[in-house]
Amino acid sequence: MTARGEMVMEQPSADTLKVILSGEWKLGGELPGADKVQQKLEGRPGVRNLVFDTLELASWDSGLLTFLMNLGALCSRQQILLNRDGLPPGAKRLLELALAVPEKKDARTAEGRVSFLAYLGDQTVELFRSAGEMLEFIGDAVIAVLRLLRGKAQYRRSDLGLIMQAVSAQALPIVSLICFLVGLILAFIGAIQLQLFGAQLYVADLVGIAMVRLMAAIMTGIVMAGRTGGAFAAQLGTMQVNQEIDALKTLGISPMEFLVLPRMLALALMMPLLCLYANIMGILGGMVVGVGMLNIGFMEYYNETAKAIGLWNLGIGLFSGLVFGVIVALAGCMRGMQCGRSASAVGDAATSAVVTAIVGIILSTAVITVLCNLLGI
């Protein structure tokens, strides 16, 4: 049997309503609401006092108190005096405690319904503001790099070393897997088409050029955006929450030089190397399909690949890798530095860092591709 609270109402005199509570008034049980009393009161406009009789009340908890709070609000709206004397002493005291500090009406920030146009306007303003912040951050980063070139930047060499290790050696397994598979997939897709013309051998060209010129850099960039960009944002965000960045600032140490610069430098130095490694893995992936399925000889495949990949392709690929590295580092650090002071803000910063980095990578790929086209390389 579930706990059940009963309520009966009597009217001993014309201006008094007596509420008789009995049974178990506990949360989760079946309890009558304050609206019942309201209905009763609507029929009797003369009532000025509300009294309680709780002699039959077996037990109570917050269920009773919330009912009484609702009733209290109802009574003050209708200017009825709520007499608490008939309540159990504990409930009476708790109710007095809850009502001791008046409710603050202006504490909640107004989050009313916003019209579509207002929303659109807010978002547009926000967009411009964040674009400004981004430019400011990039400007600060450039200044930090210039100071580095003049040998004036303050950062710890040991930090740089640790970050370099984290973004290169520790990323090798995932980069190997992804790029090997991408090479394999490219070879499969190419093979089906090229076999129609009996030109299987050109699978080597296709995989080689695609990987070296573009795919290795993009795939590595995206892996690093998820792996390292997110980590940077979370690290700096947590430091922001923990006031560690404030502590740096008040010591006159620029967080830009101390935190952002080594991260940017590490990725800028390591990304081209990672790309080179990714190239090899991708070509290996293509070779597995070429040699294993298409019956191209190993040396034949190798020679065809070597012939297809020009120095320009390699250069463009490595340059893209460098650019993506800087983008991933900047996106991660920027979102981390902009992070608010709560745990959820750190999560938002990490998410936003990955999204920003991936968008940046795709956009810069487009720019690089168009430029190469214009230059004819």
Binding site: M239, N242, Q243, D246, A247, K249, T250, G252, I253
Partner: protein, 252 residues
């Protein structure tokens, strides 16, 4: 302390977040060698006051003078130079979590002095010993308790022998004995080094035990309502809000 000399002067200051004005018309003076308490109820802007004093947030209006220099009117380099003479202990310690305590304390020394690594090691050892944490050099901040983190935070704040030390809620989250020891430490440092101390707190025991001067920020009036020695304020004030605050709401 024979002659009182103004160290920090706050003149007609307004603190605001966007349109929301937190406190206005703040004018008070922190003298050299003071233990100056910034007190007030929760959410009155005590910590914001500190962020303005240490150069992290610009005031909406008014001036902060360090000696004769207008802090917020000066350029970034002057501000950096002034704040380098200050040490800050943050509420949670804010030690750099990726470095050991020794590295935390050594960083400001490495950055601003020409000391050799050996000398730095000695200074680090001394500062840790001063806050009662000798032997904890190689610990990481996550490996020690909250009270120790605060003390290590003080050691870091003292690394460059600052002229003024800021404390954000030093005794929050500490047991009574540790809080008392921290108070003693602050008093001792002031007496022996002559450092000006600015403490943001609402811990009454500390306020009366160590405060030599104070300002009370009244959240309901959105301005300061009193300044002076806290013990004297308690004896003389007629302001019901301040009296309520200083007596923990108990009727005397």
């Amino acid at each position: 302390m024979t002659e009182k000399e103004a160290h920090v002067t706050v003149d007609d200051l307004t603190m605001a977040y966007g349109d929301f004005v937190l406190m206005r018309d703040l004018t008070f003076t922190i003298n050299r060698g003071d233990i100056f308490i910034i007190m007030g109820g929760s959410g009155c802007g005590k910590s914001t006051m500190m962020t303005i004093l240490i150069g992290l947030k610009a005031p909406a209006k008014g001036k902060v003078l360090y000696g004769e220099v207008d802090f917020w009117g000066a350029d970034q380099q002057t501000r950096d130079r002034i704040i380098r003479r200050a040490g800050v202990m943050y509420q949670s310690g804010a030690l750099w979590s990726s470095m050991t305590l020794a590295e935390n304390i050594a960083l400001p020394l490495e950055t601003y002095t020409d000391l050799s690594p050996g000398q730095i090691r000695e200074v680090v050892k001394l500062k840790l010993a001063l806050v009662g944490m000798a032997g904890f050099e190689e610990f990481y901040p996550s490996e020690i308790s909250g009270g120790m983190q605060k003390r290590a935070g003080i050691a870091r704040a003292m690394a460059l022998d600052p002229e003024i030390l800021f404390f954000d809620e030093p005794s929050a989250g500490l047991d009574p004995v540790s809080a008392r020891r921290l108070d003693d430490l602050i008093l001792e440092l002031r007496d022996s080094l002559g450092t000006t101390m600015v403490i943001v707190t609402h811990e009454l025991a500390s306020i009366f035990a160590i405060g030599s001067n104070s300002v009370f920020l009244d959240v309901s009036k959105r301005t300061m309502t009193a300044t002076g020695n806290p013990n004297q304020l308690l004896a003389e004030t007629r302001d019901p809000n301040l009296r309520l605050f200083l007596t923990r709401g108990e009727k005397s």
